[in-house]
């Protein structure tokens, strides 16, 4: 069972690498925020698996709840920020489309 959990955790970590590439090459700022959001959600899951591996789930699950909630708040705040202050591409002509 331990081996299966270990394999699952390593697979979860390896599948984060394409998303890391998306953070690096992502053409717009919001692309990067989406990728960070996905990685944050999966980190909350990874924390539970780590807790099961250390035989201490009751402690790690609290971290996971806090991480999931903070991840949602972080992506929400970032989306509000980029919505108000600056266009993601730097195009000014796009502002007149707003609200259509």
């Amino acid at each position: 069972m331990e081996i299966a959990l270990m394999v699952a955790g390593i697979c979860l970590f390896l599948m984060m690498i394409p998303i890391m590439c998306r953070i690096i090459i992502g053409p717009t700022a919001i692309d990067r925020i989406v990728a960070v959001n996905v990685i944050g959600t999966k980190t909350a899951v990874l924390l539970i698996i780590i807790g099961a591996l250390f035989d201490n789930v009751s402690m790690f699950v609290d971290f996971a709840i806090a991480y999931a909630a903070l991840n949602f708040l972080g992506s929400l705040a970032a989306s509000r920020y980029f919505n108000r202050t600056r266009p993601a591409y730097g195009k000014r002509s796009s502002m007149e489309v707003k609200g259509s």
């Binding site: 919001i30 989406v34 996905v38 009751s58 992506s75 929400l76």
Partner: protein, 149 residues
């Protein structure tokens, strides 16, 4: 009994990993921002639900009060993510749309397509003016689309 629960949890965890692989590859391969959002918003939710359900079954396999509470907390994480992940997807997508990121559309599908919808009679009398205002630009756009074709 123990082997059945362990096998069930392993099946749940690895099917969650397969769906997460779909989300991750989709996030890498999809052509534009909006379609990437599809992969992120959907694959993320189901894979999280499946993996947390697998871990809850795993925790419940030796049953006592503490593990019951831990399992309820793990399910609470799944419910929290199921409620918040579409909301953050929608908000990020709205931010991108307001910023004017151009969607990649197929050649004959430019602009906004109106599907209409059900009209509830009698209950929306005050809304009619705004309805008319909203309808006009779409008609202009569809007319322009027809002209260009």
């Amino acid at each position: 009994m123990d082997e059945i629960l362990n096998g069930l949890s392993i099946i749940l965890i690895f099917s969650g990993l397969i769906f997460f692989m779909g989300a991750s590859v989709g996030l890498m391969r999809f052509p534009d921002f909006y379609t990437r959002m599809h992969a992120a918003g959907k694959g993320d939710t189901l894979s999280t639900i499946l993996i947390t359900a697998g871990m809850a079954v795993q925790v419940l396999s030796h049953f006592d009060v503490v593990s019951l509470f831990v399992a309820i907390k793990i399910i609470a994480i799944a419910v929290l993510i199921m409620l918040t992940s579409p909301t953050s997807t929608h908000l990020l997508m709205k931010a991108g749309y307001d910023d004017g990121i151009d969607p990649v559309t197929s050649s004959d599908k430019d602009g906004i397509i109106d599907l209409g919808g059900p009209f509830i009679k009698g209950s929306q009398s005050g809304d009619s003016e705004s309805k008319v205002k909203k309808k006009i630009p779409s008609k202009k756009k569809s007319a322009a689309r027809r002209n260009s074709v």
